[in-house]
């Protein structure tokens, strides 16, 4: 993986996709231990689409955050339940960063958007709020440069790596 691709690996449409009402989970690892998983509750993409910031609850994500501190490697999967569209991003420079103004509102918007997408499957907003619940002071952010991106929508293109976008 090359953390310094010549241009962004995701396009504007893909950036909008991962910032929308989609499920987002991250995986981390460290030598000699099992990987860890944590669910994120919001995502931002930098204007040049090279850097992604995930917001997540620190308590349930403690082990994954610990891995980030040690190895800085990360994989994040985004999926839209209603379409199965799935994208995985990877990074090798992940770091924990402070929240920015507006991040709490971003989390609230995210919960509403994701709840709207899964409503058709019979999941109530109350259910989605429980699933994604995090106390505001428990939220942290993890930022990384997109080093690789893969289509993971089930089907013939699954696993295909995205090339750099001009």
């Amino acid at each position: 993986m090359n953390a310094y691709a010549a241009s962004a690996l995701i396009g504007a449409e893909q950036a909008a996709f991962i910032c929308g009402g989609v499920g987002m989970s991250m995986a981390t690892c460290r030598p000699g231990a099992l990987p860890n998983i944590a669910r994120a509750t919001g995502c931002k993409v930098s204007s040049d689409r090279r850097v992604v910031t995930l917001i997540l609850a620190a308590t349930p994500g403690a082990a994954a955050l610990d891995d980030v501190r040690r190895t800085a490697t990360i994989a994040v999967v985004f999926t839209q339940p209603s379409t199965h569209r799935t994208l995985q991003l990877k990074g090798t420079d992940a770091r924990i960063v402070p929240l920015e103004p507006g991040d709490h509102d971003l989390v609230e918007r995210y919960v509403r958007a994701f709840a709207a997408d899964v409503a058709a499957f019979g999941f109530s907003e109350a259910y989605m709020r429980a699933l994604l619940a995090a106390s505001p002071d428990d939220l942290v952010a993890v930022e990384f440069t997109i080093a690789a991106a893969f289509v993971q929508t089930p089907g013939p293109r699954a696993g295909e790596a995205l090339a750099a976008n001009a």
Partner: protein
């Protein structure tokens, strides 16, 4: 306290797809969605292997993985530490996952994309309950243990197999609120199952056959394992067979020797449980519902236990060999009107009454023997014991359930409004009631 897999296995039945995280040999994590996690036993789960992807490459290099699953009712969140052991591409776990995946694929618009290549068996090393908010669990629909106990107790004291099966199907409705069910017995030599009893359908379907391996019933019988599907799955549904059979009815269909399997046109949940005794599959108890996800793991457990009891009860049921005192056969008194031609095709023992198909196979050969003795010797009274030893009746083996064949023959005659009926006249004895003069024609 150690968390047991059983305490949250409903999470595995889908609703919220889980995730699996793995690591490549060079230390890069990977995360993917799981379309299916199957509970195998208290220490093992199986994940569906559908594509050769990074997850698979990683676990083949290093067998450790972590999975996250979420309760679709309470939003409780669990993480499982896993160790990959092996991949199974046949057998009970594979077949039950394959059937379930067909339902999941169809429900999620992924038919033709999801295809099970194997069941990856993982040891569960640790279970972690992730801190977070949950909703209260909805109350259980019913107490399955109480229902099971009531059904098991009601199984005692039935005089014969017909009463036992009728009783069990009644219990399923009253205790388990399962309104559509049938019992099929296995003819192992022919590799087919035949319907003996049903409840909750417009037509009983007595005599309807399913090939071993065909649909949920056939797979459950072949593998000796329960098969459970929570959504409509075309490739496991019998709806199509029923439709096709209805379409072919009419003039051309009158000669058809297929009895349609009863079944819901809009089936959403299916559960087929093998009826076993002494390590042998005797038949299948099949249940279905027009609702999605009607049967969960706990229902499956209760109904497997019930089917085990039923298997024992069938095995212990006296084969109806009652007193052998020969009752003098009274000559037929009330057979009048025009002759009815009983045609017997020796090739498959199929029987037609005039132009109406009645039955084929073993039940057909029984009917032929009864009619022949009636016509040639004026007999109307028969014992199960003599029928079982009768060389004209091709019972596949001694252990075959003659009584089950007599039940379905009796039902078919009744449902067709036939001019011949068989009636029980005592333990292990039947009598032929003939309303019209018969003429037997054998066709090679």
């Amino acid at each position: 306290m150690k968390i047991r897999l059983e305490s949250f296995r409903d999470c595995l039945d889908g609703g919220v797809p889980g995730n699996i995280a793995t690591v490549s040999p060079d230390g890069i994590p990977n995360i993917a969605y799981l379309s299916q996690v199957q509970y195998v036993d208290s220490e093992h789960v199986a994940l569906s292997y559908q594509f050769f992807n990074t997850t698979r490459r990683n676990i083949l290099a290093s067998p450790y993985a972590k999975a996250a699953v979420i309760d679709p009712r309470t939003a409780a969140h669990y993480r499982l530490s896993l160790q990959y052991l092996r991949t199974e591409s046949q057998g009970p776990v594979f077949e039950s996952m394959k059937a379930k995946l067909a339902g999941i694929a169809s429900h999620t618009g992924m038919s033709g994309v999801f295809r099970l290549l194997g069941s990856d068996i993982y040891r569960v090393l640790d279970i972690e309950r992730v801190p977070g908010q949950t909703l209260p669990a909805p109350p259980a629909r019913q107490n399955l243990l109480a229902a099971l106990r009531a059904c098991a107790e009601a199984m005692h004291g039935h005089a014969d197999l017909e009463a036992l099966l009728t009783g069990v199907l009644g219990c399923l409705e009253h205790q388990f609120e399962i309104r559509h069910a049938m019992v099929l017995m296995l003819d192992a030599a022919a590799g087919r199952l035949y319907t003996v009893a049903s409840r909750g359908y417009a037509a009983s379907g007595a005599g309807a056959e399913i090939a071993l391996g065909d649909g949920v019933i056939g797979v459950a019988a072949r593998e000796g394992t329960p098969i459970r599907i929570g959504h409509f799955a075309a490739e496991y549904s019998y709806g199509r067979a029923i439709r096709e059979s209805l379409e072919s009815s009419g003039e051309a269909g009158r000669m058809a020797t297929e009895i349609p399997l009863p079944g819901l046109a809009q089936v959403r949940s299916q559960l087929a449980v093998p009826i076993r005794a002494g390590g042998r599959t005797l038949g299948v108890l099949y249940m279905e519902s027009p609702h999605d996800q009607r049967f969960g793991y706990d229902d499956e457990d209760a109904l497997v236990a019930l089917a085990g009891q039923l298997g024992m009860a069938i095995q212990l049921m006296p084969q109806g060999d009652g007193d052998e005192a020969l009752v003098p056969s009274a000559p037929p008194q009330h057979a009048r009107g025009p002759n009815v031609v009983v045609r017997h095709y020796a090739q498959n023992d199929s029987i037609f009454l005039d132009d109406d198909y009645l039955i084929k196979g073993v039940a057909g050969s029984i009917f032929c023997a009864l009619v022949r003795d009636y016509l040639e010797r004026g007999r109307v009274s028969f014992s199960n014991k003599e029928l079982r030893l009768d060389r004209r009746i091709r019972l596949p083996d001694l252990s075959d359930n003659l009584e089950a064949r007599l039940i379905l023959l009796g039902r078919r005659l009744e449902e067709r409004g036939a001019c011949v009926r068989i009636e029980k006249t005592g333990r292990g004895r039947i009598e032929l009631r003939v309303d019209r003069p018969l003429e037997l024609v054998d066709i090679e």
